[in-house]
Symmetry: C2
Subunit: 596 residues, 2 copies
């Protein structure tokens, strides 16, 4: 099943929602306007549609395999990654100082979606490498930067994140891997790390592991964790590859999905100790790791959008081809393609609305990131930083949860054929399920949203977003047409429900934390639904404004109908979520653990 | 992971919701009271927990395989099925005249749940056989009954349903398999059938295929379809197995789940014609097949409940064992088992509430079936038949859709471990997805609900159910306690939303069929949610009535909290569904097929 990147939608979002013209006013991004975006996206689409997407099914059928500590990836992956590197794609968002292209996230995130739609498993290798690059850029010494960054940004070497241990999944306080200081300033690292994505593979010459470990004598808990670079191959004085370091892959997991992506168990230090280099200062590892995680969380949210888009395209193609039964409205006499049946349209519209809504949200968040990091005005940076930080758990949590709904509907549109592996729809269903788990489960995103992003400032940041939404409502209500009016009204009801939830959570977070956190995931889903709907409300206004002016009318109609569908069918879920959060907290914990 | 049948919950439902004491007043069911139910269920649990459940994972790892037209099932399946047959389980609900036990569906459905929780793939063989038995009982000639029923009811032979063809999935009007009358009164059958569950296997001596085909010269469409018995082995005059019939398995599907269950492509008549025996009259095949389908639809709904229960037990065990992070309420200093975290409890309670609600609905529906078929009073039969017919799409559609949510949460509770196949949670997620598809997709159930069950009588049947629900609300509101009051209020709001939807659908079904059918699946989900909640409302009242009277207080508390949770978190979804149905119909079909 081929894939076609949704360039029109991406460029529409960049132009009208993310306001790439504003991004291009930021020093350093002067060349990163809409034209650049279009050129980059077209090239990105060409490469991924042609080279990466065709490897998606082969990767599922012939996953990575392990023999004698060596992981062999699916045939074709190595060559495709070489092309990916040569095309400069790994360096897209990274600084020109180290060989990158220095493009804004506003463009980079869209490229990330295309890559992930093409092949979720393949895309994980660059995704993790991006995170490792960001951590080194922020916290690495000049020497570490000089040693590693150029090779990583060029795609010659890849990066990994080593957090999880068997007893320490989400709870990094339990990390036991240890690092012993050596007289030469290096450390020797000992321990076992699990769930290491692309922890071992044959696609690059070296792998730069970023590893959380405890230095002997460090405080207990998360305040005693440090971050180390542990390369697979040590480097010679001339920077060339030297000795094999003492880190080995001892097994890879047998997973439900993303099978081509090797998930490694890494053993550090079984042969004398793996040589590690401290990143930044001792005991600040978690802080640095959060840099990687924040980058990765956003990127995993984009994975949700990506797999949803792919599932939608797959289902749509089937719905336009499969002939079954007569339409209820009599529009066709005799059997018709199933897209004529209202419920098939409902499923396709749901898939499309959730995907486009999440994409619009992610695009706006990306622009905020760019302003937060690069805008010359400190006040603008701070505002955008606050907005972006509120968005990260929504992009990660909502976009991935919605991808489960979308990939389920994708199978459902196919009927019995959807359950047969050869059809391909089932792979998206299996692949997507990891997205709500890794880089922090939905509950962990929701805890972040409830704790750091909502209750810590008494709901002020959340309410500032609500105020922005209210402005869009007013524009919609003033537009004088039914679609805009309905969207405005539904957004209004949804925003009020959001404020009820914010008030409840802000009030209860300390008074009755169980009550606040019992509604954490429903609150995340409510907020994500609202913000995605808000962006589609803005999109609706923009599309209506463009009608009759020579733009692509079919695209504009699709956007307006999709936004209206979102208002009718997705925003309507919000008041019930509010009721569950505000009135349903007690019944969540009314049974004590021992009463189950 | 072991499985323990939820006997307390099943017996509670039978006693207080299904009113098995009333069932036992029906002639023929005098011995089928609560004591019998308990004895049967305990024996059923013992057998399935011990023999069938341990084969669930092996069936996933080593599915059925095909070689030279012969399907070999997973090691152990054949022996387990022999024990199943010897235990009399295949005959549980079938008439004593043919060697069955003649128990009511009220008991049989619970046994079905236990079998399916133990092993969804294994259970499909008896499930399909049950359907074939019912079709023969209703429409078969005395000769066909005498020839086949005893062996099928004893479990020596199994049965299949042959509907689907490559071009005819849900649309049976497109069936092309043909049947040519022979001078001896038999027919020769030619054609290809796909998706035939247990269409070939090694667990029984003979397989009795029930096959839809067209007799030469029959009318076009569904009115020209006849039903035939096509046994794998023809019978000798003495009833013993004779020649191999001309029906062969040419391939089995590679599926996402229920892998142990062979899904066959059957080729009829490639070597001169498969001998078939007409069931009932020519051209009435679809009518007879609906008998099988109605039986099977209810049974597939029970499969949803079954896999949800199994996923719940699996997740609960993990949540009680896995230690991660400190509880937000400070109840434990340091890392605690994850069941202490509010969101894990929310997930477990959601799983439990959806499962118990669906089980309560199915149990009540089963009792209605028994009264509809066996009650001496024609008026009582008619009332119960109407109720049961309304319930079938809900039991099938709602229970299976909820099983997707539950099995997803089951993986989610496990975090990263859930995505690793060895953990076992992923299998439920993969297995469950077929349930919303086979025996009629959710959309087909919803069309049945909208068309035959709601709009045909102008909503009268639906409103009669709403009136019954209103009585329960009044009892709840009169109970004088918070849990009952909240449940009563939420049920009231939900019932009103249901009535809005019924009015809309009844009004639009002819005026604007696209509008009515655009909301068909949301309407099914709304109605299922309401009816399951209603049954939990009744359960809440019953449980409160039993408190302090020497019953199992822990069970009663669990039931009350679960019902309250359902009111707070599941019934609250209903008003939004109403809004989508009543106000959102237009946007579903606003984009024409060619505009996608």
């Amino acid at each position: 099943m081929s894939y076609t990147a949704p360039l029109k939608d991406m460029l529409f979002n960049m132009e009208h929602l993310a306001r790439i013209d504003e991004v291009a006013k930021i020093p350093g991004f002067e060349d990163a306007g809409l034209e650049t975006a279009q050129a980059v996206l077209e090239e990105c689409a060409r490469f991924n549609e042609g080279v990466v997407a065709p490897l998606n099914v082969p990767g599922d059928l012939a996953p990575s395999s392990l023999k004698d500590h060596v992981v062999t990836t699916t045939a074709g992956f190595k060559e495709a990654f070489k092309q990916y590197a040569e095309g400069g794609w790994q360096g897209l968002q990274h600084p020109a100082d180290f060989g990158g292209q220095g493009l804004p996230k506003t463009i980079g995130a869209a490229c990330g979606e295309i890559l992930n739609s093409a092949n979720l498993s393949f895309a994980l290798c660059p995704l993790l490498t991006d995170g490792a690059i960001e951590a080194l850029l922020t916290a690495g010494s000049d020497e570490l930067k000089a040693t590693y960054l150029e090779k990583m940004i060029s795609g010659e070497w890849t990066g990994t994140m080593n957090l999880t241990e068997p007893q320490a999944g989400s709870d990094l306080a339990l990390v036991r891997t240890k690092a012993e200081p050596q007289p030469d300033g290096t450390y020797k690292v000992f321990g076992t790390k699990i769930f290491i994505t692309y922890g071992e593979h044959d696609m690059a010459d070296n792998i730069v592991h970023l590893v959380l470990a405890r230095v002997a004598g460090a405080p207990e808990g998360v305040k005693g964790i440090s971050l180390f670079v542990v390369p697979k191959f040590l480097l010679k004085a001339d920077g060339g590859l030297g000795e094999r370091n003492d880190v080995y892959c001892v097994s890879i997991e047998h997973k439900m999905g993303i099978k081509a992506s090797p998930t490694a168990v890494l053993q550090f230090g079984d042969h004398g100790g793996a040589v590690g280099y401290l990143v930044g200062e001792e005991n600040r590892g978690l802080e640095y790791m959060f840099i990687m995680m924040n980058s990765a969380r956003y990127a995993v949210g984009v994975q949700g959008i990506a797999v949803a888009e792919r599932a939608y395209q797959h289902a749509l193609a089937y719905a336009k081809e499969r002939v079954q039964s007569r339409p209820v409205d009599g529009s066709v006499k005799g059997p018709a393609t199933i897209i004529h049946h209202p419920d098939v349209r409902r499923m396709l519209m749901t898939m499309r609305a959730l995907t486009e809504g999440s994409r619009a949200m992610a695009s706006t968040a990306a622009a905020a990131y760019d302003a937060a990091h690069h805008h010359p005005d400190a006040e603008v940076r701070a505002q955008n930083q606050a907005f972006y930080e509120f968005m990260v758990p929504l992009v990660k949590g909502y976009s991935t949860e919605m991808s489960l709904e979308v990939t389920d509907l994708g199978v459902q549109v196919h009927g019995g054929m959807g359950f047969i592996e050869e059809t391909g729809a089932a792979q998206y269903y299996r692949d997507a399920k990891i997205l709500t788990i890794y880089e922090g489960t939905t509950a962990i995103q929701a805890n972040d949203l409830v704790g750091r992003k909502t209750s810590r400032d008494g709901g002020a940041g959340a309410k500032a977003i609500a105020a922005q939404i209210e402005k869009t409502e007013q524009e919609l209500l003033a537009a004088g047409n039914e679609d805009a009016k309905v969207m405005g009204e539904r957004l209004g009801a949804s925003r009020k429900a959001f404020l009820d939830a914010v008030d409840f959570i802000a009030a209860q977070a300390k008074a009755d934390p169980n009550a606040a956190y019992s509604g954490s995931v429903p609150y995340l889903m409510l907020a994500g639904n609202l913000v995605a709907g808000w962006q589609l409300g803005r999109a609706l206004l923009a599309a209506q404004g463009l009608q009759g002016k020579g733009a692509d009318e079919a695209f504009l109609k699709g956007k307006i109908v999709t936004a209206r569908f979102y208002a009718d069918h997705i925003l309507t879920r919000i008041p019930g979520q509010r009721d569950a959060i505000v009135h349903g907290a007690h019944s969540v914990t009314a049974l004590a653990p021992e009463e189950f």
